[in-house]
């Protein structure tokens, strides 16, 4: 099987949030639900303070904690061909266990449906050979969606260890 995932170039993200909004517009999420978001991390002291940006979403982990924690059979699946992790709305009971265990905060609770949802890797697009909405619009060209990759390497400061769930993301500088 292949494992779809993200390559994120930290030196190119401009924190414009286009990925966040593109995702919302493509997938028509509730205003309050963002499948992708940008974290801004401040460090240091005036006048040498700094800010760094990281775009986050579901990393469609090799060992998804959400899937392991889900009490409903088949409500969270990992596709054998693509590695995409999906929460099936017709089965989800909204218990939020997945939200509690995900090291990255990917699952989002939908107050309207009382269920949990998250990034689908724009499954409906990628299966047609189209790119995910966030990647198309990435202003800094920092974000790539790739089919297969050795998902290893350094992670940003504060990012949960790869060893926990083996996220399909690679960070470049």
């Amino acid at each position: 099987m292949s494992q779809k995932g993200w390559i994120f170039d930290k030196s190119k993200c401009v924190s414009c949030k286009a990925c966040t909004v593109a995702c919302k517009m493509e997938n028509n999420t509730l205003t309050e639900v963002n499948y992708r978001w940008v974290i801004e991390k401040e460090s240091g002291y005036y006048p040498s303070a700094e800010i760094r940006f990281t775009s986050m979403a579901c990393f469609h982990c090799a060992n998804p904690a959400c899937m392991a924690a889900c009490p409903i059979d088949g409500a969270i699946t990992k596709d054998a061909d693509t590695g995409i992790v999906l929460i099936h709305q017709e089965l989800c009971v909204g218990c939020k266990y997945c939200m509690a265990v995900c090291p990255y905060g990917a699952p989002q609770f939908n107050e309207a449906s009382q269920k949990v949802e998250k990034c689908t890797f724009c499954n409906q697009r990628t299966e047609q050979g189209l790119l995910p909405a966030c990647v198309i619009t990435c202003v800094g060209r920092a974000l790539e969606a790739v089919d297969d990759e050795t998902w290893d390497g350094e992670v940003p400061d504060g990012f949960a260890s790869r060893n926990m769930t083996h996220p399909a993301v690679k960070f470049k500088d």
Partner: protein, 1059 residues
């Protein structure tokens, strides 16, 4: 802090938002008929999705989905958009893969690439542009004209038909229209013009194509000089005016060639987020940083651009000029300025590759005024600090012979050079001290009759050398070692260094002096038109208004019976006060005027409009038409005055507003006419000089009324030449383009469209045959009865300039359709093999400023003089008739902001904090506050404060404080956000939030309440607290020269309060 925790915080914050797409629909449904929601305007898929996990949009490749290309208008960048549409509903917006803002030069689609190739090609847009869908389906959109019930501003409205609205408004303004014909002047004074001038049109944001159209309506059809008071002066107008003085009006807007620069000083601009094109600069700043380009961010607030900065210089408020002059001093002190460039005094000298002494020099497409003699002392003050002219020509001191040469500025004239500093060996020079002229350098030319002169560069040098570097360090707040290092790095990068500035450089009372101080750094290194340098000739475009190619129709010049209004513009821009005006106004030419005059504010003084209404100076207003205009919210210190003036019918008898929702301005109108969004109409925006190639973006109705009328069928079928529509004003709801509304209004004023000057069946020539005989493409329409009649002609103008033979109808039609299909005309920037073309020409950019070619120069010295036509002071140094003072023609450090009389303002130690305003990338104009996808990113804005200040005042994140100023003790409240990324003593507040209308306050239509959305009231706007001019009392502080409203001169007091 872990990444996860932060995310949870964000989600929690987000969940506090009460309004979802679903409740949006409910909010709208309550007032169906008035608001757009609940009708065909609503994007059905989006609303239904609320119950479920995201129900994704149809794909761009699905059947039944159309992909239409147009141009965004969420900010001024003009990025191309690719709009996915199904059943006249906009599903999704992406970047246009043909548009240079959206794709880098080597990856863009070629203009001739089939339109289908755009379907899956990548193009980017920012978050604001992505959220454009919510502009379209904003549940608070107005759908029907509203007429005020009760007092202005009372929030009571009656929904009326377009028919009724246009008839009533026409009746009200017809007397002014007739007065033009009758020649009835205001107060009987020809200098003020006819009563038609009392009808004022003020579009806050209006685009090319529309600008010229509305000018045609208000000037040619109606006959008022008050045709277009737009928002530029609350944006960055002094930046343009300084550019005009820098280049003798050759070009007023420059941008660094970010992709190929080595070193860029960004003064008071937030180039990653709020400059334009925002996304393009952001992408280039990130990628160029990676490639080793050094960006220096000069801003008291560390903008996000600082994430990519080589240095962040947290300059003192108002210290930009000091920093720039310190850098200039150091460069000259180290002899790192480009003397060969500066000595070249005309075009051929610039172009020469050998200097006057035979030494090798670089070919330069430009030259400067460095060697031009300036009169520094004369028997009368009016003759001082102007260029010395001999037989009407500038004079330079020949560096070879020392002789004083008249300068021939013809582009083909023999090369001439001017000595940039005098050393006393030249004939006719004497020591400045002997001449009694201090501060101008060591020697001056004795012109006889008590007149002395010196070269402009010498004056600049004397000015920057008047103070030591330590003084500049103190004034700028940047230490000497850093100034030295920055200056050395800048000079070392030479032609690949540039100094750019935007709002922070110019939106203050000393904006011109500051902009000048910054811009002349580019003169020192001679970077203009160089690859990697500072570019002004770029982003050329086709001329939609004609006049540039055979076969074009001059849409602005040509008209049948068009009126040509005369008189004085109500804001007194571009007008030199003279004795005729003094007599007309009952004033004395030698005494201070009642309000300031703005002869150099070429782009308007938006903030003066309402205060001028209040003072009826130079005359009172009769009818005020505001379009996409939100002076009360967006203009500094305008809230109170707007309430006071606009709610007073004796001051403003009629106020008609066009808006998409109930804005602060709309709330103070008699009639509010629903506007179409940028996704539903036409315009022809120009791009930023950051784009090196030529292009013309074409904004067209991707959905809405005109799309439903078959516009896109005509595009597909190649029949745009035949397409048109008729509006039934009794039945059709729109939303209509302002062009159609104004044509109908004027038609009702005049009694039929053929009675409207410059409109109707024969608008441009007496007949279509005459139009053809004049050499215009026969496809051009001679009629002007709809918006499309206008934009069709503009497209024909583009097509023939783009190369279609005007006599070959098929070729013109084909080109028009190719443009319409792609959302514009785009010069290719690659050869299809990945090689860049059309951007560079060796070491230079291809599209150049070339001031010398136009007989002009880049200036150190900004000459403020009366024109030669002035009846009283022809050619003399200009004196501000209100302040009765002269302007400084050289860069200067001004310690304090000053009032309109030129007196420094010091509000005392009680008001201890400076304030900066800014725009994050996910907001731009005030309107983005209405888009939940953007406001959810940061549910409210904050008062950002340095941690040291916060600790001293015992303030913590989320604490409520009140900010007051000397002119607004009522103040505004907001919450504190503590940060290390701001200079101590400075507060930052972002724009777009803290609105008090626009859906944040309820109002009533026909007795039914339109409920407010609490989320829209979140956060704060600092504008109401910004400092009022203490002399005038009813207007913000402003730059008297460029006309900019001041955003950066106010001192505030911070007071902890309970929420």
């Amino acid at each position: 802090m872990s990444l996860k925790k932060k995310n949870n915080d964000l989600v929690k914050q987000a969940l506090r938002h009460p309004l979802s797409r679903r409740t949006f629909m409910k909010a709208g449904a309550a007032t169906a008929g008035v608001l757009a929601a609940g009708t065909t305007l609503l994007k059905p898929g989006k609303a239904m999705a609320a119950n479920d996990a995201g129900t994704p949009d149809n794909l761009e490749i699905d059947s039944g989905v159309d992909v239409r290309y147009s141009v965004c208008l969420q900010c001024h960048s003009g990025c191309g958009i690719k709009v996915r549409v199904k059943d006249n509903t906009i599903l999704k917006i992406d970047g246009n893969p043909w548009h240079p803002n959206c794709v880098e030069s080597n990856n863009r689609l070629l203009f001739n690439a089939p339109v289908e190739t755009g379907l899956i090609a990548k193009g980017t847009v920012c978050s604001k542009s992505q959220a454009g869908v919510e502009v379209m389906y904003n549940p608070f959109r107005l759908k029907q004209p509203l007429k005020r019930k009760g007092a202005r501003g009372s929030g009571q409205w009656e929904a009326i038909s377009w028919d009724q609205a246009l008839t009533e408004i026409a009746d009200r303004i017809r007397p002014y229209w007739k007065a033009y014909e009758d020649g009835t002047n205001i107060n009987g004074q020809a200098a003020l013009g006819t009563l038609a001038n009392q009808v004022v049109f003020s579009p806050g944001r209006i685009e090319h194509g529309q600008k010229e159209f509305t000018d045609r309506v208000w000037k040619k059809a109606f006959g008022t000089v008050n045709a277009r008071h737009d928002h530029t002066s609350i944006c960055e107008t002094t930046h343009h005016v300084a550019g005009d003085f820098l280049t003798e009006k050759r070009k007023h807007h420059f941008k660094p060639d970010t992709a190929n620069a080595e070193y860029i000083l960004w003064f008071g601009t937030n180039p990653l987020e709020a400059n334009f094109p925002g996304q393009t600069l952001a992408r280039r700043i990130a990628s160029s940083t990676k490639a080793g380009v050094k960006h220096v961010i000069i801003d008291p607030r560390q903008s996000r651009a600082a994430a990519f900065a080589h240095r962040w210089l947290p300059v003192r408020m108002g210290g930009d000029a000091a920093l720039a002059m310190g850098i200039g001093r150091r460069i000259i002190d180290q002899n790192k300025h480009d003397t060969a460039f500066l000595e070249a005094a005309n075009n051929q000298a610039g172009l020469a590759t050998a200097n006057w002494d035979g030494s090798a020099k670089d070919k330069q497409y430009n030259n400067t005024d460095a060697g031009f003699l300036v009169v520094v002392k004369a028997p009368s003050k009016g003759q001082e600090w102007v260029f010395h002219k001999s037989n009407g020509k500038y004079v330079v001191v020949n560096p070879d012979t020392g002789a004083q040469d008249e300068l021939d500025r013809d582009k083909n004239a023999a090369a001439q050079w001017g000595k940039i500093e005098l050393d006393g060996t030249e004939p006719g020079t004497i020591a400045a001290s002997t001449a009694g002229v201090p501060g101008v350098g060591d020697f001056v030319v004795d012109l006889g009759s008590g007149k002395y002169a010196a070269p402009a560069f010498q004056l600049y040098k004397a000015r920057v050398f008047a103070k030591p570097l330590s003084w500049y360090a103190t004034k700028s707040g940047i230490d000497e070692a850093t100034i030295t290092a920055v200056a050395d790095e800048f000079a070392a990068a030479g032609r690949k260094a540039s100094a750019d500035a935007y709002r922070g450089g110019c939106q203050k009372t000393h904006g011109m002096a500051t902009m000048q101080a910054i811009l002349v750094l580019n003169n020192l290194v001679g970077n203009y038109d160089w690859k990697g340098g500072y570019e002004g000739g770029t982003a050329g475009h086709l001329h939609e208004m004609g006049g540039h190619a055979a076969g074009q129709l001059s849409l602005t010049g040509q008209s049948v019976n068009g009126r040509s209004p005369a008189g004085t513009v109500i804001t007194r821009i571009k007008t030199f006060f003279d004795s005729d005006l003094a007599a007309a106004l009952g004033e004395d030419f030698d005494k201070p005027t009642r309000r300031p005059w703005f002869p150099f504010a070429y782009n308007g003084v938006y903030q003066e409009l309402i205060p001028s209404f209040e003072d009826a100076y130079p005359y009172s207003v009769g009818a005020f038409f505001s379009y996409w205009n939100n002076i009360p919210y967006s203009t500094p210190a305008a809230k109170e005055a707007a309430f006071r003036v606009l709610s007073d019918e004796s001051l403003v008898p009629l106020h008609v507003n066009f808006d998409v929702e109930m804005s602060e301005m709309a709330s103070l109108a008699d009639y509010v006419l629903p506007d179409s969004t940028y996704l539903e109409r036409w315009s022809m925006p120009h791009d930023s000089p950051a784009i090196l190639s030529k292009l013309s973006g074409y904004r067209s109705p991707t959905a809405g009324y005109y799309a439903q009328k078959g516009y896109w069928d005509a595009v597909k079928n190649g029949t745009l030449d035949q397409w048109n529509y008729t509006i039934d004003w009794a039945k059709d709801k729109g939303p209509f383009a302002i062009e159609d509304i104004l044509i109908e209004l004027m038609s009702r004023v005049a009694g039929g469209v053929n009675a409207v000057p410059g409109f109707g069946d024969n608008a441009y020539y007496a007949s279509h045959a005459d139009l053809v005989n004049a050499g215009v493409s026969p496809l051009a329409r001679n009629q002007l009865k709809t918006a499309w009649d206008w934009f069709w002609n503009a497209l024909v103008n583009w097509a023939v300039e783009a190369g279609a033979d005007p006599n070959d109808d098929a070729a013109v039609k084909a080109m028009v359709h190719q443009i319409a299909e792609r959302g514009g005309w785009f010069q290719d920037t690659s050869d299809g093999q990945g090689n860049i073309i059309n951007e560079y020409d060796g070491n230079y950019v291809k599209n150049r400023t070339k001031v010398g070619n136009y007989g002009k120069a880049f200036h150190f010295f900004f000459e403020y003089t009366y024109p030669s036509s002035h009846p009283d002071k022809a050619g003399e140094r200009y004196m501000d008739p209100f302040a009765r003072r002269y302007y400084d023609p050289l860069p200067a450090v001004v310690d304090h902001p000053y009032d309109s009389k030129g007196n420094p303002i010091d509000d005392g130690p009680d008001f201890a904090f400076d304030v900066v305003t800014y725009k994050p990338m996910y907001h731009a104009q005030g309107r983005t506050n209405s888009l939940p996808a953007l406001t959810v990113i940061e549910p409210e804005n904050f008062i950002e404060m340095n941690k040291a200040d916060a600790r001293r005042l015992d303030l913590w994140d989320g604490d409520f404080v009140k900010l007051t100023s000397a002119s607004n003790m009522q103040g505004v409240k907001g919450r504190i956000k503590v940060t290390e990324r701001i200079r101590p003593g400075v507060l930052a507040v972002s724009h777009s939030r803290g609105r008090w209308e626009a859906g944040s306050r309820a109002y009533r239509v026909d007795g039914t309440q339109v409920k407010a959305d609490a989320r829209r009231a979140k956060g704060l706007s600092i504008n109401p607290v910004l400092r009022t001019d203490p002399v005038l009392g009813n207007v913000t502080l402003q730059d008297p020269i460029g006309g900019s409203a001041s955003y950066y001169d106010t001192k505030v007091r911070v007071e902890k309060v309970v929420a």
